[in-house]
């Protein structure tokens, strides 16, 4: 059975006709062509598929698109403001925090949610926020460094 859904993704309204049981992850990737969202397990275990729903990190492999209707979905494609990269994206690129880059979209979005809620977090707070996002390449070191650098730069912009 298919249902018609309307999703607001990265401030754009998308409509699609999809089987009811399709996950948000699948709809984003397969129906809306937003392939920036990745998957590592499709069982809610790795954090790779994280997107933001109303600013909060959500595992898109466990979410149903119907639940997200009428809410604000942000994927990695929507993190930059037009051509201007989010400070996190800039810092991740500069510091080598993306090796294979596969975990990167999910981690960037999770970190973005953290920084908007808690500017200037401690390293421990960053670790806790990212504890649900696995990365097999980096040993997390450069990721934590990059989040801290981005937080610092955002702080500077604010003050």
């Amino acid at each position: 059975m298919k249902v018609r859904i309307a999703l607001t993704v990265n401030d754009e309204l998308h409509e699609a006709l999809v089987p009811v049981h399709k996950t948000l992850l699948e709809v984003l990737r397969e129906d809306l062509g937003l392939i920036g969202t990745k998957h590592g397990c499709e069982l809610g275990e790795c954090g790779t598929c994280t997107v933001l729903v109303d600013g909060k990190p959500v595992l898109s492999c466990l979410a149903l698109p119907l639940e997200a209707e009428g809410r604000r979905i942000t994927t990695i494609e929507g993190l930059a403001e037009g051509a201007r990269l989010h400070p996190l994206q800039q810092a991740f690129a500069e510091l080598g925090a993306a090796q294979c880059g596969y975990c990167t979209p999910g981690i960037l979005l999770t970190a973005a949610a953290l920084l908007s809620e808690r500017p200037g977090p401690t390293r421990q707070e960053v670790k806790e926020a990212l504890a649900g996002n696995l990365c097999r390449c980096t040993g997390y070191t450069k990721i934590l460094d990059a989040v801290e650098l981005a937080a610092l730069r955002m702080e500077r912009i604010r003050t």
Binding site: E45, G96, A98
Partner: protein
């Protein structure tokens, strides 16, 4: 050259693909959606060991939306495998399955769900056979045969090498230690599940996009398995979302996707589920080890004898190489005058093991480094001092005839000892300190159950295998550098970027040679129809081999352009330099021409500017059977100190800090080199403390990311990386490997630190809390406080190939190799 002579090399630059990765633009294999594409699923065996009596696909074919169903009968009747000596895999099993997860049939359909549903309707009649699930099982049941080939019933490979009089050397030692260790298997767990998209076009030509580390080997295997000329097949390795060795074999799903595309006339995608990735595996071999080493009173090694038994799983994979690697690299680190190695790989009904970061060497490294720690304790020596004393001599040969070049290990040890405050902590922490009333925690609070400890270990690793997987005299790595009047430079190379940054290294080196910025260089990687062959992203070979080929090709382009510019400026070409996107004479820089203008002059003089670069390693295979595994142009070295606490009540290990100093030869980009060290340390921590790939009744016990434990941000300690540069004459601008070596010392350093904290020995990884509590219990009862393997298999090794030890002989000629000029 010194650091200051470089413009790009040595700079902490972003990777060239960083921007695409942070905005989500990078297209991995599963991100390919082609028009009319079908989705396929594999039906996999539910039996660990069985004959296939019948396969009935009628019900599956009848499902609406199914485009095609294939079984092994629809494929050419050939077997394949990565190594020429182990051609034992079928893309779809025809008469027998050897593990749960073995592929039997496949369905292509309108979507994944339909394909999956149809797979469930395929009826397979099995005739179960006894499943052999361990080395002991397989050796105890020679009447049950997993394969018909090998060095004995269920013995895939049996090797024995002896270099010098080991028994004599052990007899003359002041201390002889005999220890037994076990290293449990574990898996790569790349975040990206393998995926492949095949398009067999109507002109008869086939293209495969795949998440593979070795497009060249996949290309060769597709030609064989599909009985199609290699010239009509194009393999494109998409950016790989983590490999670590797990995407180094050619896989069933790659072959099957092609066949289904041929049958359906549509592009076909197969994307593995996480559970399938666990079964596809090819990860770390479980290895049982016996090691006997003689020492003098001062800690010098007189000789060493190592035996290893590898639990290979159901197929050959890289196993013959893995078997050798458990024996041949240890002598590269320390002075070991005479050496004997016996190794055997045993088939079992589990997913086959293969190369994982460090390929075959973390296991014997764990054994040797833990044994050194025990010997130091017995001899009353500091374990860091003992190691410092026995570091191998640069530019000599090892007992097993390997030429070593630069060795920065002494400096690495000094650096981690200093950075970690080793000496103070070594005496302040640990059981002995506690027994003497040494304070562990400040103040008068009740004593914490968390006991601090600090441990050390070292290692060495190869920078690329000195011989190819199949015998040939061709380059291991090739590039083409081209430039045109736009001023743009393109580099084409078969190398595959698996996150390690090979695309970036190609751009950095080209830019360095031509006086450009990396952004001026376009990298076109890993396409078997366009790019010169590179053997693949394995054995830490890419930076060195592609790097040397790049320097050669870019140098040829530069020479051609210099000739043209020299004529224009009326100067000697030898006086020209390329920097800041210009070419000119330093003393007369105002007259320098822009790079784009220089290319125009070059094109006018020479015609099209496209130059090849080729690299093959120096020919240094030892002149004995088996001498082809182990030689490498040069070796990297690492030293690691780990500081941790262990909770006496719960057995939980809490890592505080890890220091690794790594001799990288030269850090072409320190940021990326550090990233490789950090990732290696992290992965070593997982292997040491939690990761294990274990089975029950043929089934994987934890085929999910939740159950298969791997470190998160919370378990990963603060990591301190120190890069040591030795400027190796074999490497591109002196560089050696950094992607695998730093993993090796981490595991034994953790085991040694745990011993320092509590006085217990866990001779088995992973070191889980239950093992620590068991050892503490033994200690309390006055028994030897050791947990580890208690028995060894009854097994007869081959009569050894006996060769003179080459220990201490001068190195083979340095810097001489094929295709040099």
């Amino acid at each position: 050259m010194t650091k200051n002579d470089f413009a790009v090399v040595g700079q902490p630059l972003p990777k060239v693909d960083a921007w695409a990765k942070v905005v989500g633009e990078t297209r991995y294999a599963d991100d390919f959606f082609l028009p009319r594409m079908a989705y396929a699923k594999l039906l996999r065996s539910s039996h660990a060991h069985a004959r296939i009596r019948a396969i009935d696909t009628a019900r599956a074919r009848a499902v609406p939306g199914v485009y095609a169903v294939v079984t092994g009968a629809d494929l050419p009747p050939v077997k394949f495998g990565i190594l020429p000596v182990s051609q034992d895999e079928e893309a779809l099993c025809t008469d027998k399955v050897r593990m749960v997860g073995d592929p039997i049939a496949a369905v292509a359909a309108v979507d994944e769900e339909t394909a999956e549903q149809a797979c469930r309707l395929i009826d397979v009649t099995y005739e179960a056979q006894p499943a052999l699930m361990s080395i002991f099982d397989s050796l105890a049941h020679p009447e049950v045969r997993i394969h018909e080939y090998g060095d004995g019933p269920n013995v895939h490979k049996n090797v024995a090498l002896q270099f010098g009089d080991v028994d004599g050397a052990l007899a003359g030692a002041d201390l002889v230690r005999e220890d037994v260790f076990f290293f449990e298997g574990n898996t790569h767990l790349p975040m990206e599940q393998h995926a492949a998209v095949a398009q067999w076009a109507s002109d008869g030509k086939l293209t495969l996009w795949s998440s593979t580390q070795t497009p060249h080997y996949v290309h060769r295997v597709l030609a064989k398995a599909l009985d199609t000329p290699a010239a009509h097949i194009r393999v494109i390795a998409t950016p790989v979302g983590g490999g670590f060795g797990g995407k180094t074999d050619p896989f069933s799903h790659e072959i099957v996707a092609c066949q289904l595309s041929k049958l359906t006339g549509r592009p076909v995608k197969i994307a593995l589920t996480r559970e399938e990735v666990f079964y596809t595996h090819r990860g770390r071999h479980p290895v049982l080890m016996w090691i006997k080493t003689g020492f003098t009173r001062r800690g010098d090694i007189t000789g060493c004898h190592l035996r290893t038994w590898l639990d290979g799983g159901a197929y050959g994979s890289y196993g013959v190489a893995s078997t050798f690697y458990t024996g041949v690299i240890n002598p590269v680190t320390y002075k070991i005058p005479v050496y004997k190695f016996e190794g055997a790989r045993i088939f079992t009904n589990k997913p086959p093991c293969g190369p994982k970061r460090g390929h075959g060497t973390p296991q014997p490294r764990f054994a040797l480094e833990c044994q050194l720690d025990k010997a130091a304790e017995q001899l009353g020596l500091d374990p860091a001092d003992l190691r410092r004393r026995i570091v191998a001599e640069p530019f000599t040969k090892t007992a097993n005839h390997l030429t070593v070049t630069t060795i920065g290990l002494g400096e690495c040890i000094d650096k981690v000892v200093e950075a970690s405050d080793w000496r103070a902590k070594r005496s302040r922490y640990g059981v002995t300190a506690a027994a003497q009333g040494g304070s562990r925690e400040e103040g008068s609070e009740p004593p914490s159950p968390k006991r601090p400890g600090i441990g050390i270990a070292c290692s060495a690793y190869m920078t690329g295998a000195g011989t190819a997987i199949y015998w040939n005299d061709m380059p291991h790595s090739g590039v083409i550098v081209r430039a045109d009047r736009s001023g743009g430079v393109a580099i084409l190379c078969g190398a595959t970027d698996i996150g390690q940054g090979s695309d970036s290294v190609l751009a950095y080196l080209t830019a360095e040679v031509l006086g450009l910025e990396p952004v001026d260089v376009q990298v076109f990687p890993a396409d078997t129809s366009l790019t010169p062959v590179d053997l693949g992203s394995y054995s830490s070979r890419v930076t060195l081999m592609c790097g040397m080929a790049t320097i050669q090709a870019a140098g040829r382009l530069r020479d051609a352009i210099f000739k043209a510019v020299a004529r224009k400026l009326e100067v000697d070409p030898a006086a020209l330099v390329a920097r800041e996107r210009k070419i000119g004479v330093s003393a007369d820089w105002d007259k320098a021409v822009s790079f784009a203008r220089a290319v125009e002059l070059g094109e006018a003089m020479h015609g099209v500017l496209a130059f090849p670069g080729s690299y093959a390693p120096p020919k240094r295979a030892g002149k004995y059977k088996g001498g082809g595994v182990g030689p490498s142009p040069c070796y990297s070295y690492s030293a690691c100190v780990v500081e941790l606490t262990v909770d006496e009540e719960t057995g939980v290990v809490d890592l505080r800090d890890v220091w690794v100093a790594h001799d990288v030869g030269r850090a072409l980009n320190p940021l990326l080199a550090e990233g490789q060290v950090e990732g290696s340390i992290y992965m070593g921590i997982g292997e040491a403390l939690m990761e294990e790939q274990v089975f029950r009744k043929g089934l994987h016990k934890q085929p999910s990311m939740l159950e298969y434990k791997s470190p998160t941000t919370l378990e990963t300690p603060e990591i301190h990386t120190i890069l040591v540069e030795t400027d190796d004459p074999e490497g591109p601008f002196g560089a050696k490997e950094v992607g695998q070596g730093p993993l090796l010392p981490v595991i034994p350093a953790i085991a040694n630190a745990i011993h320092h904290a509590l006085g217990i020995r866990i001779d088995e990884v992973p070191i889980t809390p239950d093992k620590i509590l068991k050892a503490l219990e033994l200690k309390r009862r006055g028994k030897p406080a050791r947990v580890g393997p208690e028995r060894l298999p009854l097994f007869t090794f081959k009569k050894p190939v006996v060769v003179e030890s080459a220990f201490g002989q001068p190195a083979d000629t340095i810097g001489v190799r094929p295709f040099q000029s």
